[in-house]
């Protein structure tokens, strides 16, 4: 993976940062490299596209870490796999997994008026005969333009809150489903981020992903239903956190390489009097990165061992997200004009890193989840 990152991704990093919205054709090579690697490690080849990790979350985190050491934007633009695939694998039935598992599936949750509070979405789904009719607007959909299908979150009845939320699989080309625009972004420019419009979009009844067609009146069943959708995050947060670790390591490695050319050497464990300000700074950043890495590995390891990992997944994501930001920005500062310059990728890393502390739950959402669990509070007590 690391070789693929270094020899496939790095050489085209700058090209697709500039050529925003242009699909990176070289990326098929990366999929092939990933498939070869997975075969070697004994995970079924099909799982590459389906994100069916089958107890290999830690393995996946480490692979992601390596690939995102290469380039986060390009990794996200890798054809074939989107967050929708994780949702299909987590909550889909056997037929759905078989039918959609290997298609490229994006995930559409966020709306102009509903971000972190995903239970407040207003895209609607109404059952008419044997079809669901979807209406609404989704924004910030990663892979929304290039994917084969989208997992869309919609409500059966907005007044019923989160109990009425379901997810649906919508295939590209379905009448009433259009890509309205592509976002221009601070970073991860190689990856497409789309606004999707659903205007009386009709999909087959069996495209309801997990959950029941009716709204549960039993409060526990209802809670379980939304909880099921949220559980996807326990699976995906360690992955996104792994991306931040890879990016942080890339920035540190590049900074060290630039400094070494000018005679820098690490000086771990010495007293403050013996370290230069830069040695001191890099040691602390390295310690923070290592701490984040271990938190993330632990959350994935728990997942693999079927232990509830919601708190740990958020701990890892919170720590990795903020550290990825801090390291990449600090590296720009340490490398001064070279860091700021487009001659090197450090400035790009600092732009790419920001999203990793935002999507799959912002820093603040992770803190909220951790705090509720540590303090034993409900979401109505600690808002």
């Amino acid at each position: 993976m690391r070789m693929a990152a270094e020899f496939i991704l790095r050489p085209i990093s700058r090209k697709y940062d500039k050529a925003e919205h242009e699909p990176p054709l070289e990326m098929e090579q990366l999929n092939q490299a990933a498939a070869a690697q997975k075969k070697e490690s004994g995970v079924g080849d099909d799982s590459v596209k389906s994100m069916d990790l089958g107890g290999r979350s830690l393995w996946a985190v480490i692979s992601l870490e390596q690939m995102c050491w290469g380039d986060v934007g390009l990794f996200l633009a890798r054809p074939g796999t989107g967050l929708g695939n994780a949702a299909i694998m987590a909550v889909g039935n056997q037929e759905q997994k078989a039918l959609w598992g290997k298609r490229w599936a994006a995930m559409a949750i966020t709306e102009p008026a509903a971000g972190s509070d995903s239970k407040n979405i207003s895209t609607t789904a109404v059952l008419e005969g044997d079809e669901w009719v979807l209406n609404g607007e989704k924004i910030y959909v990663t892979d929304g333009d290039r994917c084969d299908c989208v997992v869309v979150w919609a409500t059966l009845n907005k007044d019923m809150g989160k109990t009425a939320i379901r997810s649906f699989i919508v295939e590209k080309g379905t009448p009433g489903f259009t890509v309205a625009r592509l976002e221009k972004k601070l970073g991860i420019r190689a990856s497409d981020t789309a606004t999707l419009i659903f205007d009386n979009c009709r999909i087959p009844r069996e495209n309801l992903l997990g959950g029941k067609e009716e709204i549960e009146t039993d409060i526990n069943a209802a809670k379980k239903s939304f909880g099921g959708a949220m559980q996807t995050f326990d699976n995906t947060r360690p992955m996104v956190a792994g991306m931040a670790i890879g990016l942080g390591q890339a920035a540190l490695d590049m900074t060290r390489a630039l400094l070494t050319e000018e005679g820098y050497e690490d000086n771990f464990g010495r007293s403050m009097h013996q370290q230069t300000a830069i040695q001191n700074e890099l040691e602390m950043l390295e310690a923070e990165l290592e701490a984040a890495r271990l938190l993330v590995y632990k959350s994935a390891w728990m997942m693999d061992n079927k232990m509830p990992n919601s708190k740990e997944a958020s701990m890892g994501k919170a720590k990795a997200g903020r550290i990825g930001n801090r390291i990449s920005l600090k590296c720009v500062e340490i490398c001064s004009m070279q860091g700021f310059s487009e001659d090197h990728l450090l400035e790009k890393f600092s732009r790419d890193s920001k999203i990793l502390d935002i999507f799959e739950g912002t820093q603040q959402i992770q803190q909220l989840i951790v705090a509720r669990q540590v303090l034993g509070k409900s979401s109505s007590q600690l808002k």
């Binding site: 393995w59 310690a287 938190l295 803190q367 540590v374 509070k377």
Partner: protein, 373 residues
């Protein structure tokens, strides 16, 4: 970039033995050490009664070889780190009252000459745990932590020591000191110095924290010792860097125990303390501080496990130990100060332990040779 080594997969499940020892020591820390922390602080030392209880844990005889009356158990570093964390959960000063003699006994068992071991180790087993005072902490600000502020002139028949060491625990109860000193070729080794010999002066010191254990400075001026008083014997040299690194993992484990104590204290406090008609923990500014505390404490725990595990695997652990101690220093201090902040004015008083934990946590990153793994 980190390699994923499939031969050493990530696994942080404690063994049954480790879990049992941890449970037992943690309970001891909480029920036997913590209630006496204030008393020990005002007395400047633990009571004799408390010391007897600490000794009855048999932590020191456990690691002393059978030939010298101990049980000769080779403890792994992860287990040692767990034990240190569990004790410091009770109180840092009191935990160090046992971790320092334990480290001293470990060093002598591992590096001492036959003669030195035969003379000194049985006393540890017989309950005299402070008869050798350990002098690792440097007095001079700019000294390399892997070197000593005491110099050893090894040029003649005798070795001549000059300089000072500070933070020596229970110095007044020692007959002998084990002092680190750097020689002309830049090697740092340990030397035994008798308390009553010429050129040795003990100066009692007060520090902002760790007040529950007496700490002194040892001043050596032209202190002449025989070459056989070098630890391990005349021609022996120890890997001092590895000793310091191991001690840093130990200090980090002690810090972890205190951090966990702070976290476990502020959770019920902020849940019960009401302001503006609701528990203060219902406010994000309070809750997020606690979330971060939990995140960094857990991260520190994993860093310590990894550093100790690397040592157990016989791999180079210098970098991991350095990063871990650095992390413990930075976040330990942050957690200490946040603990006081979360209790507001109450946290500033002696009515609650958070101010004591804050002062003690300041020792992390400064104190060397306070524990080993």
């Amino acid at each position: 970039m980190q390699d994923y080594n499939t031969e050493h997969p990530f696994d942080i499940t404690l063994s049954e033995d480790q879990q049992m020892t941890w449970d037992m020591l943690r309970k001891f820390g909480e029920t036997e050490l913590r209630p006496h922390a204030r008393q020990a602080e005002s007395d400047g030392r633990p009571s004799d009664e408390l010391l007897e209880k600490i000794k009855s844990l048999d932590l020191i005889p456990l690691i002393i070889p059978e030939a010298y009356g101990g049980m000769g158990l080779e403890q792994d570093s992860v287990s040692n780190a767990l034990a240190l964390e569990a004790l410091a959960y009770g109180d840092l000063s009191l935990a160090m009252s046992v971790s320092i003699p334990l480290l001293t006994a470990q060093i002598i068992s591992e590096h001492g000459s036959e003669e030195q071991k035969a003379e000194l180790l049985p006393m540890f087993v017989n309950g005299s745990i402070f008869h050798v005072g350990l002098g690792i902490n440097n007095t001079m600000l700019a000294t390399d932590p892997y070197q000593s502020s005491v110099t050893a002139d090894e040029s003649g028949e005798e070795i001549i020591l000059n300089g000072s060491k500070t933070g020596v625990a229970f110095a007044n109860e020692a007959n002998t000191f084990l002092i680190s000193a750097s020689n002309e070729s830049g090697e740092c080794n340990l030397y035994f110095v008798n308390k009553d010999q010429e050129g040795v002066e003990i100066e009692d010191k007060e520090f902002m924290g760790l007040k529950g254990a007496p700490l002194s400075q040892i001043n050596l001026s032209n202190c002449k010792i025989n070459a056989s008083q070098k630890l391990g014997g005349h021609n022996y040299s120890i890997n001092y860097e590895s000793l310091v690194d191991s001690s840093r993992i130990g200090m980090s484990a002690l810090a972890l125990g205190v951090c966990q104590a702070v976290l476990d204290y502020v959770v019920p406090y902020t849940n019960e303390r009401v302001a503006f008609d609701e528990p203060i923990s219902n406010r994000q500014s309070v809750a997020f501080m606690i979330a971060d505390m939990a995140i960094e404490t857990e991260a520190l725990r994993l860093m310590i496990y990894k550093a100790a595990a690397l040592k157990d695997l016989g791999e180079d652990f210098h970098k991991q130990a350095s990063l871990t101690y650095r992390f413990a220093t930075h976040h330990g201090m942050k957690i200490g100060t946040d603990g006081v902040q979360l209790l507001g004015g109450h946290g500033f008083t002696h009515e609650h332990p958070v101010e004591l934990w804050y002062r003690n946590l300041r020792a992390i990153g400064i104190f060397e040779g306070g524990a080993g793994v």
